[in-house]
Every structure is written in C-alpha cells, then in structure tokens.
Symmetry: C2
Amino acid sequence: MRLSPSLSIDRAQLLADLDRLSLIGRAPDGGMTRRALSREDAEARSYVMERMRAAGLDVRHDEVGNVRARRRGRCKAPDGPCVMTGSHLDSVPSGGKLDGPLGVVGALAAIEALDRAGVHTDKPIEIAIFVGEEGSRFPRGTIGSAAMSGHVAVEAILALQDPDGIVYRDALATYGDRGVPLPGCAEKGSIDSFVELHVEQGGVLEASGVPIGVVTAIAGLVQRRVAFLGDANHAGATPMNLRHDALLAAADWCLSVERAAQVVGGGAVGTVGKLEVSPGGKNIIPGRVDAICDLRAPQPLLLSAIDELVLAALRASAAPRGVEFEQVLLQRVEPGPMDERPMRAVEAAAAACGLLAQRMPSGAIHDALHLAEACPSTMIFVPSIGGKSHCPTEATDPQHLMQGCEVLAHTLAILAG
Amino acid sequence: MRLSPSLSIDRAQLLADLDRLSLIGRAPDGGMTRRALSREDAEARSYVMERMRAAGLDVRHDEVGNVRARRRGRCKAPDGPCVMTGSHLDSVPSGGKLDGPLGVVGALAAIEALDRAGVHTDKPIEIAIFVGEEGSRFPRGTIGSAAMSGHVAVEAILALQDPDGIVYRDALATYGDRGVPLPGCAEKGSIDSFVELHVEQGGVLEASGVPIGVVTAIAGLVQRRVAFLGDANHAGATPMNLRHDALLAAADWCLSVERAAQVVGGGAVGTVGKLEVSPGGKNIIPGRVDAICDLRAPQPLLLSAIDELVLAALRASAAPRGVEFEQVLLQRVEPGPMDERPMRAVEAAAAACGLLAQRMPSGAIHDALHLAEACPSTMIFVPSIGGKSHCPTEATDPQHLMQGCEVLAHTLAILAG
C-alpha cells in the first residue's frame, strides 16, 4: 500500500480512553494500582475489549489470559501471520496512567485511524493485551509475552503463586470476560512482526528534543543482592582505626557501581536502589548493610562487563575495612536485540509524518523483549516529561501521545502491507 | 591514710550482684531493657538499695530520683563534702549487663572492701545511682547528673515527657522506694570529687592490653540530621548522565565523614549510623536519603573542626550530582575535661594494685560529664571484650571487673584521705 498522510488520530477519544483507564484502581495519591488478574485489571480489560468490539475487531484470548484482537487482512488466509502491536494494562503499585495503557489504546486509535482513512492491509493486524507485564503480583513480569513467545511453558505460568498463595490458574478462572478461546498461545509462526508503542520512562528524548524513539534493543538485566557484614559498635567509644563499618564499605561500593557503568559505557547503567542499614541507631556503627544492585546493558558483553566490575568492587570496598560480604544473583535477563525491518518501518513512518526519530536502547524491560524471540520486533518511544515513570506524575505531552499513535498507524500500514 | 594492698574485692558477691541485676528487664535475646523510672528500673534500684543498707550505708534520694548512699567519714562535719562514685541502672533497649550496673555494684564492692580492711577515711564516701542516664525514655539522657550538677534546672527535668505523654514528675511519684529525702540536688559544694567506674565500650584497652583506663575527657558531641534530595527515576531507563541519585551523594558524604575524622585526628570520630533510602525500590534511582551523623571529639576546637569539614562535604557531595540537601543540628554537647587530681589518684591506685593504666578520652557520654561541672572528676575504664556495648553480648573478663573495683577502692581511699 501507499503511505497515506491522512491517517489522523482521534485525539479526544485517545485522551478519553487514557483518562477512563486511569480511574480504574485509582489510589488517593493519584496513582493507579492494577495487579495482574485482579478485579481492577479485569475491569480495565473489559473496558478496552468493549472498545475493540465496537471497532469491529475479533476479540480472542489465549491460555494464560492474553487478549488478541484481530483486524482482518485482505489476503486469502484469514488466520495467516498477523502484524502485532499492543502492550499491557496491569500496573506497578501506584503507577502512572501511560505505562502500558498507551500501547493498548494507542493501538486502537491507530487502527481506527486506518479504518477512517479506508486503509486495508494484506496481513491481519492484531492488538495484544499482554497479561502481567509488571511483576507486581506474581514472582515474575512479562508473563503474557513470555508465554506467547514460548520463552516460558504455559504450565509453568499457570503454576505461579502470588504472595497470598493464590495460584495463577485459579486467579485466571476468576478473570472475567476473556473473549473467544484460541487453541494455544505459543504460535511462533502466527506473528509476522511486532511493534509496541510505549512511553520512554527516561529523559533521553526530552533531552534531545526528538519526539520519536526507535528501540534498537531491550537492555538485559542483572540484579544481585549484596550484604556487607561489619561490626556494630558504639559510635563514640570506637576509634576510627578499630572500626569495621559496613556502611562505609557499602558507600564505597555504591560509588563503584556508578563508576563501573561509566567505564563500560555503551548504554550500560548501574543502580543501587535498595539499601538498608542495621542496626540503624544514630550512635551505633553500622554492623550490616543489605543492598540490591540493578545493572543493565543493551548487549550481553556489556552486561557481563559491568557485572564483573561490580563484583570485583565488592572485595575492593569491603576488605580494606575488615568488612565481610555476601552476594547472590537474583536474576539475569539477556538483552533482546530488535530487528532492522520493523525499525526501518518506524523510521519511514516517522518520516511520512514529518517527525524526527532517533534510535535508542530501552533500559526498561518490555513485552517486546520476548516477542523479539518469536518475530522481528521493535518499539516506538514517546518522550516522558521529566523522565518520570512508575509514579503518579508519569506524563507525556498530549501532542507527543498523538504523534506516537500516528507513527504507529503508519508503521502498521507499512508492515501489514 | 596509707594505701593498703589488702583491699580485696569479693569476687563472688560482685558477679552475683551483676547477674542478679541482669535478670531484671531481661529480654528473649539475652539483653535487658530498663527504661528510666520504669518498674524494671525501680526493681533494680530496690535490689541495690537493700544491699546498700545491709552494708551500713545511709540511703537518701534527691528531688529527681538520684539515690545517694553515704559511708560516714571520720572528720567532724558528717555532712561535709563527700567523695562520690557511682553510675546508673537504667539501660538502652536490649542493652548489656555492665553499662551502668558495674559502676554501682562495683562501688559497693569497693566500699565493702574498705570495710573489710578496716579502712576509715576522713571524708564521707557516697555511691550515687544516677537516674535516666541512657535517654531511652525521656527526651534526654544523663538526667540525674545534669540535675545534681545544676546543669539543668530541677523544674525543667520534672516537666520532661516520655513518648507516651507521661510527665517525669508523675513517673517519679510511682518510682517506689527512694530512701530518705535530701533537701535538694544541686549542691555544688557538697561533693569533693567524683570517680565513676565503667566499661570502656570501645576496643582501645583490649587492643593495647592495658587493664585500666584513666579518662582525660568526655568527648563532646554534634549530631546532625541530613537529607539528600535527588530525583527518583527508573533505574533502567535513565542514563547515568541524566541522574540525580540521592544515594550516590549520600555515599560520597559518608566517606567524607570518615575522612574528616581522620584529618582532624586527636580522638575525633565521625559516624553515619542511620541512613534511609527512599523510595527503596530495587529498580528505582533513590530520590531521597535521610541520614544522621554523630561527630565526637574530646576538645571543643576539634569538635568544631570535624563538624565544619562534614558540613562542607555536604555541598561537595551533593552539588556535582545535581542533588539538593538540607541539614539541621540535633544537638551539640560540649566536651567535658576531667581533672588532674582524681586522675592522678586513679593512677596511684592502679600502681598500688600493680596494674598498668593508660590515659584516654571517653568517646561515650557519661554522668561524669556533668559531675565534672560541679567537682574534680574522672572515670576508671575496664576493657570491653570486642569493644561491644549497648547490646546483649556486652562483656568484660571477670578478672578485669575485679581489677577495676580494686582500683576504685584504692582511689576512693586516696581521695577521701
């Protein structure tokens, strides 16, 4: 098909959809909490499914609760490979209104724009609502996409338990309307390509003034739990040279994590976000510090490099102070490279819309990480104001939301041909 | 009087007294909790007062609840200036068995040794049980000694409130047996000199292998509450150069506190014992850190020097990361110099016992800090195993306990003449 400059997004409808979803699970602080398979999650999904049906889509669900809503293609095989887009509706506790929902209702807005412009594509287009992306209920995130890509077996997902001991399978049974069942969810050949619209959740686009990010890779992740074991003693009575201060060892190591990211470069980042000091008395030398470091990089070699530097820094920080340490790997997720074909489609779409686009890695993990294992994938990022996300103040300029949807509509038209 | 080498301590009685007191307010972890004026505090005091009366002492109390138990002197004026010793019976939450009690029952053991040896002194000797030394209930510590020295007005102390809103005056009314009332507690001329036996609570004596410490000064104290205000953002999506990580600023500052103590020297110490990271998510860049630093030095100029370095380090740590900070002075306590006369008496007493003694500052605050405002004062330290204190594992070799009491007995004999 030819690119149509007339693919216009219904701004009022898009913003109304986002506002409507932001009321579901709304907390007093203005954030929203929709844990996977919860009542609030189901309510949000029902709202979107009703909108999908009204838009003429064929709404189905798979074995783990993912929704797949299909717009028919012109080609002979109605069940042939589709171009997929979509995101998730579950949230972190007290999260923002865009992380997830933008990629779902933005996809709907894009398809409605195709409909209004009379654009028909050869391949079907599907909007996916991936279940349990955030990991705020069950012991892992990206549940739905991991199942869809075959990364994790369906049986393993159905056996997951939340902290209250509720099994995924049982929670799924109470999840409400899920549409018409699909035969299975691990259907690699059924997806031609995947593109997910999402807020950046960082400040790169805002800093560069570019409205569209084209994601080149989902950064991999290493998280390690670290304990520094010193000697809790009286802060007044213990001379500096007789101390084994666990916090000083930890402080030195935190600065090493920062230096490791700077040394490795290439988009690697390292963070100590959680750090607890024991016993925590104002006049007691810290005897123990428990911390978690979160290391990310868009390439496996870079991820291993920062991890090795951070591990080596443990000894360098602890030993000179006579402090012991322990560490355990919590998780390692390999980076997910995106594919040139959908990336170029996004760039062509942005050009058709007269918008600048820049290639960038995603430091956050998304469902696209797993979809990339099953088909050529990428993501479209729009700027986050102040780089804020996972908080009630998460926001994007409405103009940028519109532009993201417009680029997505053109991208879908290009990929579905 | 002549020094008598026959001043022998009743080891079994001393250890039995310490053991008996350690059962009062005993917690499951083996520590003991005796908050000021509590039932447990009163029970401990009753036990000791009974022992005091059995030893023939005249047991009285003052307006804030301090006990003063007097052994008569030979001089004409029975109410003339006394040589005072003693310590406290209240404890930190889950504290050790020696911090406080050793200086009380050790004093009793010393007086009983004088009695057994038939040593009579010209001046009276008094054992004080100071009330509320630890500050674990009312908003300040060293309550009894601050009142006795006139450092704080009696009325101000009686008006103190604990966290439950209970006023000191009312708590005192339920404090049980306090002996015979004294006319007042701020009687500067009534005390000739003061010497307090205490565990070191640090590792200096253990490291040097010397059994007796002669305290030259009580270190002064500056405590400041500090907040670092950064920007909480997604740990994956925010490049290193766009961060305002409050924990990295705080970590840098913690290391500066250590360096400041090393630069100032002269016994100055600096500790960050309390540090809290917000929001504390493992994948969120810390947006805020709240910390308290505790700075100590045995001389006012050194205390000001370390305080100024630590304050200057706040800006140096925060500004390069675009992190803001706030700080507020929680308290400043001036150092208390000890007096040569009682210090030399302790050294002579140690020599008479054939024991090495070394001069050292006390990094911890004690009742001697306030007594020094009213009369020539010092303290006798005995080694703490592993430098441990304010914890259930606080301990001292029984031989060192005995030696401390023996040196105290000789010191009292010298000072009371």
